[in-house]
Amino acid sequence: MIKMKKRILAAILAAACMSASACSNEPAQTTTAASTAEDVQTAASVSEITAEVLKEVPINSAVEKTKDDIQDYFTGMDVDKITDASFYLCASGAYPDEIGVFEFAAEADAESGADAVSKHIERQYDTFSSYTPDEMYKFDGVSAVVSGKYVYYLITSDNEKAREVIQKYIP
């Protein structure tokens, strides 16, 4: 009888330990993964990324434009292939500064979207080169960067710093 009780106790103890072990690991892993996905979706929206860059590298008279505005600024961009977009520009027209991030439906779309962004950068360079020569350092090393489904570009007073911020979200 005593042996029986011991076995029952041992079984209960083992079950309790297994239960405790399961509770402290598996659900935590699932929660971490779930919250990770949630964080990425909410914290890394293109609008939040550009806003974060703007906070670190301000633009005078900054105004945000979105997917709806793309056709007015980026000739040749296929808006239907864009999931989300956010770009800031100097609305007064005084400075060439811009910060833009585009999320495409697929990586192949991002490649073609980058061409439109590149042409936009070239146009801005041509436009401002004779207009604000003192501001042209902002174009140093500027390019349309493709990273997976994302394309971004930076024309700012401190592109290195802006790039560091953006790479916290987009490697």
């Binding site: 405790a20 890394a44 806003a51 007064s92 003192d134 500027v142």
Partner: protein, 290 residues
């Protein structure tokens, strides 16, 4: 002996109960930590890596497309850590526009109108006051280049002919002050107005004065208030000559000393802050309506 064995079982039961209570407490602590977000902070700290994993991002191409210049700028160190919260509240388009003064204008009043201008007028579109269709504005545009330059492969004359706007507003000349000569610019302005009248005979054409410059900008010598006032005088005379209306926006934007008011001026002392566009539209509407 039997009593001792009985005591042994009692101790085992106590130990078991303690273990079970311990497990329950541990569970509660873990649940509390998760619910309070402490575990999520770990996720945030690793966000960059997680983004990479989740989005399956891979850098595929980085192409330099623009020739480099030799000028560089000092880059202050970044010290701020990444934070998710409140990051979008400080700098949005709405913030910029909300910060403007309470000048009132009626969007409907301008619904069939066309604005022609240089980089200053691009703000009408960039700030969202009007659609691109209602604004023919380009960085660097002047009365001469306005005759031939295109936007989306269309000249302003062709655009006026196509749109047949009710009113056409022209604000050009700031870009030529430094090198074109006021008399030549006013002559080109006359040609532009005449071409627009041919393209859209029923449109009312309004010639806006070019805006003032700030005292600081004036002191740099490239564009000065003497130049601005001189050109605006020619514009007014031209308007009288060819029978269009001259609108003295310049006076509306000046401070008590005659320079561009800081309330309306961009940092370069020449372009407009968002406040200036509302002031401009309000002034135009009130002046035309009498």
């Amino acid at each position: 002996m039997a009593r001792k064995k009985h005591d042994g079982i009692g101790i085992a039961i106590v130990v078991l109960n303690v273990l079970i209570v311990g497990v329950i407490i541990t569970l509660c602590v873990l649940i509390y930590l998760y619910m309070s977000g402490k575990l999520e902070q770990t996720n945030v700290a690793n966000l960059g890596q997680e983004t990479q994993m989740t989005a399956e991002l891979t850098t595929t191409a980085i192409t330099t497309l623009v020739p480099e210049t030799t000028t560089t700028t000092a880059a202050p160190e970044t010290t701020a850590d990444f934070e998710i919260t409140d990051e979008t509240e400080e700098t949005t388009a709405d913030d910029t526009i909300v910060a403007t003064e309470a000048d009132i204008y009626d969007e409907e009043f301008f619904a069939n109108d066309l604005f022609i201008g240089d980089s200053i007028a691009t703000g009408l579109f960039n700030y969202g006051y009007f659609s691109a269709e209602q604004v023919f504005a380009k960085v660097g545009l002047n009365p001469e280049s306005a005759l031939t330059d295109t936007i989306d492969n269309e000249t302003v004359i062709a655009k006026a002919e196509r749109l047949k706007p009710k009113r056409i507003y022209i604000m050009l000349g700031s870009n030529g002050l430094a090198y074109m000569g006021n008399t030549y610019m006013s002559q080109q302005m006359k040609v532009l107005v005449e071409e627009l009248q041919k393209a859209s005979p029923d449109s009312y054409i309004y010639m806006l004065s070019i805006p003032p410059v700030t005292k600081e900008h004036d002191s740099q010598g490239q564009e000065t208030m003497v130049m601005v006032n001189g050109y605006n005088k020619l514009l007014k005379d031209l308007a009288d000559e060819i029978g269009v209306v001259y609108l003295d926006l310049c006076s509306e934007l000046q401070d008590s000393t005659g320079y561009f008011s800081d309330k309306y001026a961009e940092a370069d002392g020449m372009h407009f802050l968002g406040t200036a566009y509302k002031k401009m539209l309000s002034f135009i509407e009130k002046t035309i309506q009498g």
